[in-house]
Amino acid sequence: MEVMIRVENLSKRFGTFQAVNNLSFTVNQGDVYGFLGQNGAGKSTTIRMLLSLIRPDIGSIQMLGHDLRTHRTEIMRSTGAVIEKPDLYSYLSAEDNLRIFSRLSGIKPVKERIMAKLEMVGLLERAGSKVKTFSQGMKQRLAIAVALVHDPKLIILDEPTNGLDPQGIADIRKLIISLSRDHGKTVLVSSHLLSEMEQMATRMIIIDRGEKVVEGEMKELLDPSLSNKPVRSLEEYFLSLTSK
């Protein structure tokens, strides 16, 4: 199985605060990889390092078979991302936003492709509306369309269900599962919604205070027969590991 992300001994310090400490993990092709941790555990810092927004102090990141430091452009050509808040150009329409990010990804902004992405996230009817008129949930869905507009192999979603109503959350969950199952995409997703994560993630990592607590197949980690703890749900498992 092809390794899509290989992180080894990654560390990042902000002043005296150690945000990420000696973190290693692997994401395989086709995984929906859950990235879990309490607030401030280092999830967003790690995701920002994967997307080359911030530089690691120590450690290496291999993505899509290349070193991120030396092949950033090639890697980003095949990577789509939603990073925390779904901030887009509010004074432009949904269609214009997709056109811009399509061009930036090196893809010709073909109308059919753009409309298909908007339809995928349920925003086709609002294609011409300015983003400033959108609700938080609509912005979140548009941000996902932006992440998918260049048909990336690897999709990194940091809290993609923030601000969504229950129906919106269910739609995003279905979309993520479909991206992996039907389109062979690899998805790394961080979320606080453990019940959602339990339903869609195939593998996961839990980090605490910047360090890895556990990593593995979701089914195996939650299987009571393989664990010495009477685990019933991801939430119980997560809390047992992180609420010390």
């Binding site: 920002r48 997307l51 927004l53 980003m76 990073i83 901030d87 887009l88 811009i100 932006v146």
Partner: protein, 292 residues
């Protein structure tokens, strides 16, 4: 790829309402000055010409489009930096504030290309603003007030520029003014890399210009040493194109400029600042952690 990025940046710039504030402001200010001179211009000019009339026989139309364009340029170029900083100071900080900077940086373009495209876009905006200003200040003034020889009164000298010798000087002057304004844009742009909203870079840019301008006006040995290196000392170099050389008979040499080396030196110092701010912007942005 860089031109594609510049196109994207220009598309974004001209979709923002704040971009047009400068164009509207310039149109209004120029129209107000033109209206003022249309109503009271003759008496204003006559007042200034009184001293000259005692020694010279002045014929023709002193208040013409060329003179008015000079007056407008002199008045307006002091204030245009604010309008330039309004857009250039927002190029990076505005994206950080909106949260789109992090998305931009994850795209398959280098940070150097991204910064360069944004810088080129702010320079294009600056040039378009100067062209707009030229259309209103020069061409509309020519239409309304007509043309004739241009008489410029300075503190110690009076310069007369022949009618047929004026137009190219304006093209050169506007070109130089564009260079001066791009220097302001480059400074505001550089400052915008450090901020997460555009207010900081705009105010800091204007503060630097004000402080440097004050240093220029103070005739103190301490400041005199640094004055030649301050870009603000060279921003009014465009006026040099209206100083005409004279021959031994004290006759004007058409097509000449009295001190071209000084203008070229000023232009060189401005270009040095532009390139310096541009390179510094690339270096800083490439190393910057995007936390917004």
């Amino acid at each position: 790829m860089i031109w594609e990025l510049v196109r994207i940046e220009l598309f974004k710039v001209f979709r923002k309402p704040r971009t047009f504030i400068a164009f509207v402001a310039i149109t209004m200010i120029v129209a107000l000055i033109q209206m003022g001179f249309y109503v009271d211009g003759e008496s204003y000019i006559q007042f200034g010409m009184n001293a000259l009339s005692e020694n010279f026989d002045i014929q023709g139309k002193v208040l013409n489009g060329y003179l008015l364009a000079y007056i407008i340029l002199q008045t307006l170029l002091v204030h245009v930096p604010l309008l330039i900083a309004l857009v250039a100071g927002d190029m990076i900080s505005g994206e950080a504030n909106m949260g789109t900077l992090r998305l931009l940086v994850t795209k398959p373009v280098s940070r150097g290309q991204l910064v360069s495209a944004k810088f080129i876009a702010s320079s294009v905006y600056t040039i378009l603003l100067l062209i707009w200003m030229a259309i209103w200040a020069l061409f509309v003034s020519m239409l309304v007030f007509g043309t004739d020889d241009m008489i410029i009164m300075k503190s110690e000298v009076v310069t007369q520029v022949l009618k047929q010798d004026v137009m190219w000087r304006y093209f050169a002057a506007f070109g130089f003014a564009a260079l001066a304004m791009i220097t302001v844009a480059a400074l505001a742009f550089f400052l915008s890399i450090f901020a997460e909203n555009s207010i900081g870079p705009i105010i800091t840019c204007m503060s630097i210009i004000i402080v440097f301008t004050i240093l220029n006006t103070l005739n103190l040995p301490l400041f005199n040493a640094v004055k030649p290196y301050l870009f603000t000392s060279h921003m009014l170099g465009w006026k040099g194109f209206f100083d005409v050389k004279v021959n031994a008979n004290n006759e004007q040499i058409v097509g000449s400029v009295e001190n071209l080396p000084a203008i070229m030196k000023s232009a060189g110092i401005l270009v040095f600042h532009i390139v310096g701010f541009w390179i510094a912007s690339i270096i800083v942005f490439r190393k910057k952690d995007i936390m917004s």
